[in-house]
Symmetry: C2
Subunit: 288 residues, 2 copies
């Protein structure tokens, strides 16, 4: 066990939600040491169950020193960032100020560029950025049924069209999700996000502008081709199931291996309870 | 003038709004006789300024008899249909009942199929269906500025991206419109329609989830490749300008020759007053 003591820990830089805790547990179960570094105001206080420390937004110097002190070279960046940091709350340390031109140049680009720029910044300094699903494999799904039963014929046509639509708007870098009901694309996601898109379909259904009988239609969620899945995955979770249920849709289709399922047990439980299917599509099964 | 007396009139089958009146005036100005056939509950009562008659939904037999009585062989189908007809209000005449299988087969398909099926039904009986813009050419626009000034550099990049996005979702048969702000696709239209999509962007802006300074961003509207422009054109009008103004966008880009401008004078007046540009893009200017 002496090797365990001296092994480099995997550093989990933690935003909000339960996923960083899940990743930390998975790493421990896999026999790895962990160091959880929580972002103040974002990370779950529950990280105190693990070897941990805290940083503020803007304390890149402190972050690098923590990694150095613990000998961590592998990083996982995981968890939600609710808001762009309030600039009055920023505590820029010396390292950050010194490297501000590089950081500002990264921050001024779009979301995807911020993330890929952050990865590059770490990699240029010798760190390896690892995807959360590479530590906790159950965050994603293999092809097949996750909840409910796989829809047949018409239902599967809706899945194929929705996946195709979601991939197409992903190629445009517009969004990751689409809703199809009875062969018709009824919603495409862009800046409003998946939850608001589902709520819109619920409203169109409630107002009678979209009508269907029983549970039909599917929400599809896919990764954008240019998305770096190590730091930015499309996600579904219990709230997605509740929203899909309220909209009267039959289920959710995700791309296998590419979409993160947050709180998988609770997600499945709600889906089974509501009679909503969740199905992971093999990419080879659906052409664009 | 004797030829004028015996000339076949052009039959304008009129749904709601001012466009059927505009088309009737344009036909008269062009030296054509007109017969306006208003759909009860939809057409503007102002059709009584022209040679006219009324039909109810479901009176296809009566419609064909009217066309026959007046010797009309060219038809324009124009104007809004607010609602799928209430079946309790239908007055199916004998012809309609006799041809119900053909009609139901048409009605059971999607919107585009209903329209193309209707055209086929007329054409099979020897009528020619003409587009409203083929009678009133000012319903569409040649390439160039319609209101305001053509945006330069960044603004024109937004136009190109928005037109490209709108065409792409048109190919998916999802919608006709997209909104781009500072190089980012922020909204894609599907079943909610253009007005609600613009209102969504206004809300995202008001809530701070989308931020920009000054007037930037563009709404693009394009025809779907499979759209039959004789009976179904994408449209903009005064309300589109007001919605774009409220959302804080810089302007509207439409495809030249393919998008109908309702109440062009009022549309331009509002755009100039609000400082919103309207620009018609030459299809050769923007690649998909």
């Amino acid at each position: 066990m002496a090797t365990q003591q001296t092994e480099h820990p995997i550093a989990i830089i933690a935003g909000g939600g339960s996923v960083p805790l899940h990743v930390a547990n998975a790493a421990l179960s896999g026999g790895r040491k962990v160091l959880v570094i929580g972002i103040k105001g974002e990370a779950n206080p529950g990280i105190d169950r693990f070897a941990h420390d805290w940083i503020h937004f803007g304390q890149m110097g402190r972050l690098l020193k923590l990694l150095d002190d613990h000998g961590a070279v592998e990083l996982v960046l995981v968890g939600g960032i609710n808001a762009r940091p309030d600039f009055s709350q920023l505590r820029l340390d010396f390292w950050t100020l010194k490297n501000l031109p590089e950081i500002l140049s990264i921050m001024s680009k779009g979301d995807d560029s911020v993330l890929s720029g952050t990865i590059k910044m770490f990699e240029a300094r010798g760190y390896t950025v690892v995807g959360a699903h590479e530590i906790a494999a159950d965050l994603v799904s293999l092809p097949g049924v996750i909840a409910g039963t796989k829809p047949e014929s018409n239902g599967f046509d809706d899945i194929k069209l929705a996946i195709s639509a979601a991939r197409n708007i992903g190629k445009l870098d517009a969004g990751q999700a689409a809703i199809v009901v009875n062969g018709r694309i009824v919603a495409l996601e862009a800046a409003e996000g998946t939850d608001e898109m589902i709520a819109r379909v619920a409203r169109l259904n409630a107002s009678g502008r979209l009508k269907w009988k029983g549970r039909v239609g599917v929400l599809a969620k896919c990764a954008k081709p240019q998305q770096d899945l190590r730091v930015d995955m499309p996600t579904i979770g219990p709230d997605t199931v509740t929203a899909v249920d309220r909209a009267g849709l039959a289920g959710i289709a995700i791309e296998a291996r590419q979409v993160m399922i947050i709180e998988r047990d609770e997600t499945r439980r709600r889906a089974e309870l509501a009679g909503v299917f969740i199905f992971a599509v093999d990419e080879r099964e659906v052409a664009i």
